[in-house]
């Protein structure tokens, strides 16, 4: 992820970023639920040029039997990037990176889903990244929690995935591709918007404690905005209801 620092210019002279955003401005986010008829729950989230689709199946009996837990459900996450999602075609299938992201996503989701309600069961979450422009793990987790909500799976809260980072020694919210590749640090977190808890946190590069605090401040602000978009998406599907 971290390229060399080099002499790539990532901030304009007037303090804005290459794509014209302010340093604490997020890329535009859209969300829609119920996009896949075959799944128990599904969602599509776009974040900048990222497009993620998530599908949830279950809870169903966990197979093979050895993965069953007698006291709770297991959340099985498969994060995958489509071969056409990046400018260089990527080899289809599981790789080291998608395995890691699947694992951290599963652990984050298990912390909000009320897994103890479904002993011996499995909840499958499939996250497919159709287009990637930095920050796909965050978009994926946002889409996954929307799909879980759409599937009617009980959970304490939804998770909002969001990232901040550092470019040219300045903390910025929501890195785009150039900033991710040539910037100095990246701090993706999964935030529970109601309680403000953190479900996952990773860091790439170095941040001073002060820079970390600024990153988190930006992240929480963005999480609130994204959460509103998620709630609107869920409510929009059932508009005119009751």
């Amino acid at each position: 992820m971290m390229g060399g620092y080099g002499d790539v210019k990532l901030l304009n002279d007037d303090g804005t970023r290459l794509d014209g955003r302010a340093i604490d401005e997020m890329r535009p986010v859209t969300a829609e639920v119920g996009v896949l008829p075959a799944a128990d729950g599904s969602a599509m989230v776009t974040h900048g040029l990222n497009v993620a689709v998530a599908a949830v199946y279950g809870p169903v009996e966990a197979h093979p039997r050895k993965i069953q837990r007698q006291d709770r459900a297991v959340v099985d996450v498969r994060y995958n990037m489509a071969p056409f999602s990046t400018s260089d075609r990527i080899r289809p299938g599981y790789n080291r990176r998608s395995r890691e992201i699947s694992k951290v996503t599963a652990e984050a989701l298990e912390s909000v889903v009320l897994v103890e309600r479904f002993p011996r069961a499995k909840i499958s979450v499939e996250i497919e990244i159709l287009a990637a422009e930095a920050g796909t793990r965050c978009v994926g987790i946002t889409a996954a929690s929307l799909a879980l909500a759409d599937a009617g799976i009980p959970m304490r809260d939804m998770i909002v995935g969001v990232a901040s980072g550092k470019v040219e020694d300045i903390v910025v919210l929501d890195l785009d591709k150039a900033e991710d590749n040539y910037g100095q640090a990246d701090l993706p977190v999964g935030i529970l918007p109601t309680t403000g808890e953190i479900a996952f946190l990773q860091m790439d590069g170095d941040l001073s404690p002060e820079e970390y605090d600024t990153c988190m401040e930006y992240n929480f602000k963005a999480a609130k905005e994204i959460h509103e978009i998620m709630v609107d998406a869920l409510k929009a599907k059932y508009d005119g209801g009751a």
Partner: protein, 230 residues
């Protein structure tokens, strides 16, 4: 059944949303009390019953409860028991001792085979969610003719109506025997015209069951069909 008449006033909430304080109310289904607050754990409509707040989920998988009338499909047969798919997370288990026939050990398959449809009741559900079914009881049987369909499980109560009113009206109007399982499966038997009406109603429930105009649309549909007189 459904908090009845308040209709349009229901509030749609999303998981994690704070819906009140736990000081004067109790948390019901789909609600978690956390500290002094109460949060929704599901996408659905808030319902207040006396001093209990619960949520009618919009979308959910069937969770078997003992006593439920369900329509199952036999998925596997063993020497002395059957496994039936009841649309829950786990297959229901029907032991030969709870079947309506006197079955010799090893002869289970002669009475029911994979693919057969049964009307059964949930006998018990243990804490690890294993489901035992029974076919001993009035009306519980193997369903041999008729058509089977399904609606989302959370709309079953809408389809049945207050005290099964809608169901009775539908049976009368279509001149069909109609059975609605708590798991969302529906069985109907009658002439083709009647079955057609049942199908139309099922479509209506699936599409508009969550709207507050549903009851009116349903009355229009049942009332306007020829032969719909009592």
């Amino acid at each position: 059944m459904n908090g009845a008449a308040e209709g349009a006033e229901q509030r749609l909430v999303t998981p994690g949303e704070v819906i009140g304080t736990s000081l004067d109310k109790r948390a019901g289904i789909g609600v978690l009390s956390q500290g002094e607050g109460m949060i929704a754990t599901r996408l659905g409509w808030v319902r207040e019953n006396n001093d209990t707040i619960s949520i009618d989920p919009i979308n959910s998988r069937y969770t078997p409860r003992s006593g439920d009338l369900v329509i199952g499909i036999i998925e596997a047969v063993r020497n002395n028991l059957w496994f039936a798919d009841v649309l829950g997370p786990f297959n229901g288990l029907l032991p030969m001792s709870l079947a309506p026939w006197k079955v010799e050990f090893g002869a289970a398959r002669q009475f029911m085979d994979v693919g057969d449809v049964i009307l059964a009741r949930v006998q018990e559900v243990d804490e690890s969610h294993s489901v035992v079914l029974t076919m001993k009881g009035v009306g519980l049987r193997k369903l041999k003719e008729g058509v089977m369909s399904s609606v989302p499980m959370n709309l079953v109560s809408k389809l049945k109506g207050e005290n099964d009113e809608n169901l009775r009206a539908l049976s009368a109007a279509s001149d069909c025997r109609v059975i609605v399982g708590e798991n969302g499966r529906i069985w109907a038997d009658g002439n083709s015209k009647g079955v057609d009406l049942v199908r139309k109603v099922i479509n209506l429930v699936t599409k508009e069951g969550h709207k507050n105009t549903f009851q009116q649309s349903l009355s229009d549909m049942i009332g306007n069909t020829p032969g719909g007189d009592e």
